[in-house]
Structure formats: structure tokens, C-alpha cells
């Protein structure tokens, strides 16, 4: 099976300059990331703030240029494409942002916003209006809303509009950068369900960049965990959640609230990405760190479930993910909500 998108050794540093514009170091946002996503797969990239996951998302679409590394889409070298060829290619790769308020032009009606990519790529010529109507109903909005302005919509509705706009160019790959993080829980559930449905029906490939492991558990087929600009663990979602191999992944999963109180596993804050620790970047916070970890940087190791930890095979077993007790009464009562929303 070949990957739809494959990145190798991506690096992107952002120089920090002093008042006179002289470089005085760099934020090592993405510091050697290799990643692939198969067609039709939902890959989640998770991590805490500053881990580089948003920068990675932009690098994967070549919205920003990597300092080094390679990038292939369906086997084609994206970095070798000319500006015009890249523009054509972009039609098939779209990005959805966290902030539905910032991502829509306030001076464009909904119809104009969704029709813009159609015009840009010359799609559905002469029947753009019908296509916009189709796209709106696809994301659960009434087509009559096409003439309205972004400010007339709630956050959830705006995110639906942003999704419709992303779908307009008929992409194969969508990258969602925290697409539901700004939404209230009840609205978030609507949008998560909508995205999951669209991915399935349209056979989309989706890269979900998220800090919310609850959302990731619901939708991801595969998960990559980032820490300080590197992927520290990557594997099938259920394998990774049930049997996390990297100490950071274990701590991250244990810290998610709602599983009963557990002693906090990690002390301190994430170190600065300007000067990441030597050797294994996690050694300063790792409860299992050995002197060797300070010296030698571990590589991702393993076949399908990979972790970048020298001692991943000798760590004490991870505390098991305790699955919530199925609650038949609650499920039954909650099913009434779904009946209500089925179109």
C-alpha cells in the first residue's frame, strides 16, 4: 500500500531575532518528522502546545516551506512543484482551522465564500449556485442561508461553512487543525459527527491535529504523538491508547481528566523548543530516564507501533486504560438525541 501523503525528515526552525534583527537562536518547531497517511485513513497528530503539530500541518500542505526534508503526494514530489503546479495540487488538499471566526472573510457572503474555490479551480462552471446549495446541505445547513454573512452565524455554523468551503474543491486530503476545539461540547459533538460522516461517505483522508485525546479516540484510525518538534510514538489508535509505549504518551493519557483521580505523572513544564534537552528530549521529565537518555537521542523504533524510547521494551507495564462501564440506561436515553438529528 502506498501512502497518499508521505513526509520524510521534515525540519522547520523559526529564527528568533534581537532588536537589531540579528538571529539569536531558533524555535525548533518541527525538528525531523517523518510521517505518512494512507488513503481513506484518519491520522491524528496529538501533543501539547509548542510540540510543533500546527507547524507540521502547514508544512504537509506546503503552506510554509520546510528547511529540509521531502514531501510526496501520491508519489509526486511536492517540493519540486512550480507555484502554478502547486496551486493545482492544492485543490486536492485542504485545511480547516480552529477559529471559525478568523477563517471566513467577513465581507463575503456564505455563497461567495464557498463558490470562491469553485471559481479558482474552474469547477461546476455555470452551476456554481447549485453546487453551493449541495455543499450547504451536505454540511447540514439550509441552502437558503447562502446569501447571509458570516457574522450572522454561530461558531458551530461557521465551522460547517468552513467545512463546506474546504469540500468545494473536492479534495482527497483534509487537514483539520483543532477543528472543534473552539466549540462548546454540544456543538462540538455535532461537528465531530458531521466530519466523521463526511470522511466515510466521501472516502476522505483526514489528518486531525488535536490536543483533545477524547475527540481523537472517537475518530482516529492511527495516532502520532509529538513532543518538542519530534514524533515520539506512532501506531494504530487502539494499540496506542491501550498499550502506550512511550513514557510521554503514558503520562499524556493518564493526565486526561475523567478517568478517576490518578497521581499526576509529570512534574514541571514542557522545556523551551528554542533549546530542547540533549539526547531524548523527554528525559528532563521522564520518570524512567537513565543517564544514557541524556546522551543519545532515540529513534522511532518498531514495526507498526513505533516509539522513540531506548527502554520501551523494559519499562514497567503501563497502567491499563480502564474502559468506562457501559451504561445501558444512559445510552438508551441518549439515543433519543440521535433520532432527533438524523436527517
Amino acid at each position: 500500500m502506498t501512502a497518499l501523503l508521505e513526509a520524510k525528515g521534515l525540519v522547520r526552525h523559526f529564527p528568533i531575532r534581537d532588536a537589531l534583527g540579528r538571529a539569536k537562536g531558533a524555535v525548533r518547531a518541527v525538528d525531523g518528522v517523518s510521517l505518512f497517511v494512507y488513503r481513506g485513513e484518519v491520522l491524528a497528530v496529538v501533543g501539547e502546545s509548542g510540540c510543533g503539530k500546527s507547524t507540521l500541518g502547514r508544512l504537509l500542505l506546503r503552506l510554509i516551506e520546510p528547511d529540509s526534508g521531502t514531501l510526496h503526494f501520491e508519489g509526486e514530489d511536492l517540493r519540486a512543484l512550480s507555484a502554478s503546479a502547486l496551486r493545482k495540487r492544492r485543490r486536492r488538499m485542504q485545511l480547516i482551522f480552529q477559529d471559525p471566526f478568523g477563517s471566513l472573510d467577513p465581507r463575503m457572503t456564505v455563497e461567495a465564500a464557498i463558490a470562491e474555490p469553485l471559481k479558482l479551480h474552474g469547477l461546476h462552471k455555470g452551476r456554481e449556485r447549485e453546487r453551493v446549495a449541495e455543499l450547504l446541505s451536505r454540511v447540514g445547513l439550509r441552502p437558503e442561508l447562502a446569501r447571509r454573512w458570516p457574522h450572522e452565524f454561530s461558531g458551530g455554523q461557521r465551522q460547517r461553512i468552513a467545512i463546506a468551503r474546504a469540500l468545494a474543491s473536492e479534495p482527497e486530503l483534509i487537514i483539520g487543525d483543532e477543528p472543534v476545539s473552539a466549540l462548546d461540547v454540544s456543538v462540538q459533538a455535532q461537528v465531530v459527527n458531521l466530519l466523521a460522516g463526511l470522511i466515510k461517505e466521501l472516502g476522505l483522508t483526514f489528518i486531525l491535529i488535536s490536543h483533545d485525546l477524547g475527540v481523537v479516540r472517537q475518530v482516529a484510525d492511527r495516532v502520532a504523538v509529538m513532543y518538542l518538534g519530534k514524533i515520539v510514538e506512532e501506531g494504530a489508535a487502539e494499540a496506542l491508547f491501550r498499550n502506550p509505549r512511550h513514557p510521554y504518551t503514558r503520562a499524556l493519557l493518564a493526565a486526561v481528566p475523567g478517568q478517576g483521580q490518578k497521581p499526576a505523572m509529570l512534574e514541571g513544564d514542557i522545556p523551551s523548543p528554542v533549546a530542547p534537552p540533549s539526547g531524548c528530549r523527554f528525559h528532563t521529565r521522564c520518570p524512567f530516564a537513565q543517564p544514557y537518555c541524556r546522551e543519545v537521542e532515540p529513534e522511532l523504533d518498531g514495526l507498526t507501533h513505533r516509539a522513540a524510547c531506548h527502554f520501551q521494551d523494559s519499562l514497567p507495564p503501563a497502567p491499563p486504560l480502564r474502559e468506562a462501564e457501559p451504561d445501558a440506561r444512559l445510552r438508551h436515553l441518549q439515543s433519543f438525541f440521535d433520532r432527533e438529528t438524523t436527517p
Binding site: E48, Q190, G214, P257, L266, Q334
Partner: protein, 326 residues
């Protein structure tokens, strides 16, 4: 000495705002009590009134707010002036974004020392020493050095620790924490919530935890109040609420919140959006989104009534099984 076992009693709180668009009824008929050393979580989505409720208790609302109802702190009724006087001494509050509550021009240590001096007539040196001791108490590493740093030199988690140190400076009877960890990363959030729990146990401070995160409620609260569109939807001990929620909004919210420890095919999705509080629906405010609603739900406000001991809900259809079987 007061005879009341409650650190905080709020009765029939109402908050309205006069604005250009008219009168916004932000909160209506909200009552709750918190015992010393216990945490009451007030949970709900944006606009449910959870934050304005806490600001009203603290006397921190803007002048265009009209506040009705009574607030008693350790049995003492507090009017507006009383709330101002008690603030920072008998009750303290921490917010989501500690950067906006800290003065960028003063060191972290000086700000906490000033808070101590404002309420206790001690020397600056004594106050500074106490501030450093408090920093150690909230587990700020290298407390003395951190005390000399400015807020921008501290991480988000450290700033929240400074805020907690400041809140604890005067040993308050009540600590209101409004989304205290929402801006923090999950590993740091776990540290801060564990710290709040530990301090609550040690000091006997009552905690009101305002949050949208049901997972946080599950792990850190003994009592829960669910609010919807400015009114109380349901109130119960936390174990009971998660085990046997009765209000349709609580049931929907629990189904909508994605959990790490539960992979569901589909999240329950509450249709529609919250009502406009300038023109709230005439009956139950949740009725327009509720799959269990009947005509009577639109007729009038549902009474917030007891279902079991210490478990109350504002729903005429509760208990739902009986209603559905009928």
C-alpha cells in the same frame, strides 16, 4: 462563631444586564451551598451563566448588572459592600487566564506580598517571606528566584500557581476557580487540579469550580450543579449525577462529551443552539432542543424539584423512564 455548616450559601440569585439591545436575563433563580473542604462544580456551556454567577458572588460584575438574591459567607449575609470587603480576605478567585489577573509591571513575589499586606498589617519583608513560603506551598520550584521574576517570565502553569498562592495568602473560606486549567496543557492541568485538591483538604477552603469539562468534574468535585441558559437544570452529588442523570440536558451533554475511556460510534448530538437570553423561550429553556419535550414543557418554567435526596432537576418529565413508559 456562626452555626451554619456552609461556607457559602447562594439563594435565588438573579442577574440581569441592561444593554442597548434590551434586558438580558443572564441568571435566574440560582441557589446552591458549599461546605468547607468540599468542591461544588458548576458546569455548563458558554452563556449558561456559570461565570457571571461566580462574579456576582465576588461582587465583580459591571455597574450595568442588577443582582438579586442573597449570598451568605459562613452564615453572614453579604451585600455589595460586604462582598468587596470579603474579597481577597474571606473569599478569593482564580481565572482562566492568569496573565490578565497579574500586573505585568511587578514581580510575582511583590504582587503576592502586596496582597498579604493589603489585608494584614505586616512589614514588607515579612510579607515577602510569607509570599515565598506560599510559592513553596504551591510547589513553585526555586520559589525565591521565581518570586523575583515578572509574570511574562513564567509559564502558564507557573502563573496559575502564583494566582493560587495569592488566593491562599489570606486563608479564604471560599475559593472560586473559574475554568482554572482551560488555558493549560493537559499534563499541567493535572498538576494544578491535584494541587487545588490537596490545598482544599489541608485548609478546609470551600471550592466552587466553574468548568465546561465534565471529565474535570468527575475527578474533582463532590457536588455538581448543571446550568443551562441561565437557570439550574440539575443538581446532585457528583457520583449520583454521573450515575443517574435525570435532566435531558445533562443526559445529552454526557453523551456529547467525548471520553478517552470510551470509544463510541457516534456522539450524542444535541440539536440546535442555546436560546437568545434577550428573548428566552416561555417555558423550559431546553424544550426547543429536547427530544423528550411535550406540549406542557412550553407552558411554563419547570420547577426545580427534588427527585431523590440531594438530587434535584428542573424537568417535568423526570424521571424519564416513567414518562417514556406512560
Amino acid at each position: 462563631m456562626s452555626a451554619t455548616p456552609w461556607a457559602l450559601e447562594v439563594e435565588d440569585l438573579s442577574i440581569t444586564f441592561r444593554t442597548d439591545r434590551g434586558t438580558l436575563r443572564a441568571v435566574e433563580g440560582v441557589s446552591f451551598r458549599v461546605a468547607p473542604g468540599r468542591t461544588l462544580a458548576i458546569v455548563g456551556e458558554s452563556g449558561c451563566g456559570k461565570s457571571v454567577t461566580s462574579l456576582a458572588v465576588m461582587g465583580l460584575l459591571a455597574p450595568n448588572a442588577r443582582v438579586g438574591g442573597t449570598v451568605r459567607l459562613a452564615g453572614q449575609p453579604l451585600d455589595d459592600a460586604g462582598r468587596r470587603a470579603a474579597r481577597g480576605r474571606d473569599m478569593a478567585m482564580i481565572f482562566q487566564e492568569p496573565m490578565t489577573s497579574l500586573n505585568p509591571a511587578f514581580t510575582a513575589g511583590d504582587q503576592v506580598a502586596e496582597a498579604i499586606r493589603a489585608h494584614e498589617g505586616v512589614s514588607l519583608r515579612a510579607a515577602t517571606e510569607r509570599a515565598i513560603a506560599l510559592f513553596e506551598r504551591v510547589r513553585i520550584p526555586e520559589a525565591a528566584r521565581r518570586a523575583r521574576q515578572y509574570p511574562h517570565q513564567l509559564s502558564g502553569g507557573m502563573r496559575q500557581r502564583v494566582m493560587i498562592a495569592m488566593a491562599l495568602a489570606c486563608r479564604p473560606k471560599l475559593l472560586i476557580a473559574d475554568e482554572p486549567t482551560t488555558a493549560l496543557d493537559v499534563t499541567v492541568q493535572a498538576q494544578i487540579l491535584a494541587l487545588l485538591d490537596e490545598l482544599k483538604r489541608e485548609t478546609g477552603t470551600a471550592v466552587v469550580l466553574i468548568t465546561h469539562d465534565l471529565g474535570v468534574v468527575r475527578d474533582h468535585a463532590e457536588e455538581v450543579l448543571v446550568m443551562y441558559a441561565g437557570r439550574m437544570a440539575e443538581q446532585a452529588p457528583a457520583a449520583r449525577l454521573f450515575d443517574r442523570p435525570e435532566h435531558p440536558y445533562t443526559i445529552g451533554l454526557l453523551g456529547a462529551a467525548p471520553r478517552l475511556d470510551e470509544k463510541r460510534g457516534r456522539l450524542a448530538s444535541i440539536p440546535g443552539t442555546v436560546p437568545d437570553l434577550y428573548r428566552p423561550p416561555p417555558g423550559c429553556r431546553f424544550a426547543p432542543r429536547c427530544p423528550f419535550s411535550i406540549a406542557a414543557c412550553d407552558a411554563g418554567q419547570p420547577e426545580f424539584r427534588p427527585l431523590e435526596e440531594a438530587h434535584r432537576a428542573a424537568c417535568i418529565r423526570a424521571p424519564l423512564e416513567a414518562a417514556l413508559a406512560a
